[in-house]
């Protein structure tokens, strides 16, 4: 699995997989008979997915995936949530979040 040909084939397959998964329900022209609960609940998919991706990525950051020293990261997450909700400005969110993280790290001796 280390020669150029098989790496090329693997990557080609990854391209197909990444395109097909991301266009899955709009690839074909036919209607999909989604159940009613799914259609209603789908409104909550974006907020659910973003939180599910982001929160572990914030709290479990670092070279070793662990909760150790999560205090500064948790504080940074809360500040980021607050600033983003209040100002809707991503650059400010990142700056305040990272600033909080470094300050808290200093104070808590992280």
């Amino acid at each position: 699995m280390s020669d150029a040909w098989s790496d090329g084939l693997t990557i080609l397959g990854l391209v197909v997989i990444s395109v097909v998964t991301r266009s899955f329900f709009f690839l074909s022209g036919r209607e999909w008979p989604f159940p009613e609960w799914f259609k209603t609940g789908l409104k909550y998919a974006p907020v659910g997915a973003l939180c599910a991706v982001a929160v572990p990525a914030v709290l479990l950051a670092g070279p070793h995936v662990s909760m150790a020293g999560w205090g500064p990261r948790g504080l940074a997450a809360l500040m980021a949530l607050g600033v983003a909700w209040w100002r809707k400005d991503m650059l400010l969110t990142i700056v305040v979040g990272m600033g909080t993280f470094h300050l808290a790290n200093g104070w808590l001796g992280g």
Partner: protein
């Protein structure tokens, strides 16, 4: 896409708004791109493959899942299966994206699939999620999508390639990963425009923390399924409560 269409897009308000909205989350996109580029090179995969993957696969989490397996000499089917698992959340996203994309031809829908990232989807949802079908017909969600994607594709690839080039000079304790994650979290906060979405966000986060050691991000898919089911439950409960209150108000 020909020259005339590019000029039409350039003059198009919706396209430009898409580009501007994506530019606003660019710091987060750049941080993720850099981290991905560095991680891919440091894993030991040859640079040609890393560059090809960044540009052609254009899916950070799937790439990062596939690379260690490729290096470990895993069978090709296992590598593909892992990438498919990591990308499962996009299958759910595509159910909503269908509303915006069906006006495009088949090949262009494939291109749209290739260009859809977490940020792109979240911003599409923020602008068009609550918009009726009639309104969608009058607006041009695909123009907005092209605006988002053009900026996202360029910035992500530039950052990722910079990560590849500067891999030895970027210390990972800069907290770049944290910056990228905070940007996603901030985007989530801007979607929380009612109390139900706050509850679902907290629930999804708790679920994802609980399942974070499940293989190939299947924990995220689990959190997504819980979000959809709980969202439906909350909607029905809220509907019943509103109905009850209306009933009480009647003489």
């Amino acid at each position: 896409m020909d020259w005339r269409e590019m000029r039409r897009l350039w003059a198009n308000e919706v396209f430009r708004q898409g580009a501007i909205d994506m530019l606003k989350v660019t710091p987060g996109v750049c941080a993720w791109g850099l981290v991905t580029g560095v991680a891919m090179v440091k894993s030991g995969l040859d640079v040609t493959s890393v560059v090809a993957m960044s540009i052609l696969v254009f899916a950070a989490s799937a790439q990062l899942a596939a690379v260690p397996l490729m290096l470990a000499g895993a069978p090709i089917g296992v590598v593909w299966l892992a990438a498919a698992c990591v990308n499962l959340r996009f299958v759910v996203f595509s159910a909503e994206m269908r509303r915006y994309m069906m006006r495009l031809s088949g090949p262009r829908r494939l291109l749209a699939g290739y260009l859809t990232a977490d940020m792109t989807f979240a911003l599409m949802h923020r602008r068009y999620g609550g918009v009726s079908v009639d309104q969608l017909g009058r607006e041009a969600p695909t123009d907005y999508f092209v605006g988002l994607s053009a900026v996202n594709w360029v910035t992500w690839n530039v950052a990722s390639l910079l990560g590849v080039v500067l891999a030895d000079r970027i210390p990972m304790d800069w907290g770049l990963e944290l910056a990228g994650a905070l940007a996603l979290l901030g985007l989530a906060a801007t979607l929380m425009n009612d109390w139900k979405k706050v509850i679902i966000g907290a629930l999804a986060a708790a679920m994802a923390m609980f399942c974070h050691d499940w293989p190939y991000k299947t924990g995220i898919v689990m959190a997504l399924i819980v979000s959809i089911a709980a969202g439906y439950t909350l909607e029905s409960l809220a509907g019943r409560l509103a109905l009850g209150r209306e009933g009480e108000g009647r003489p």
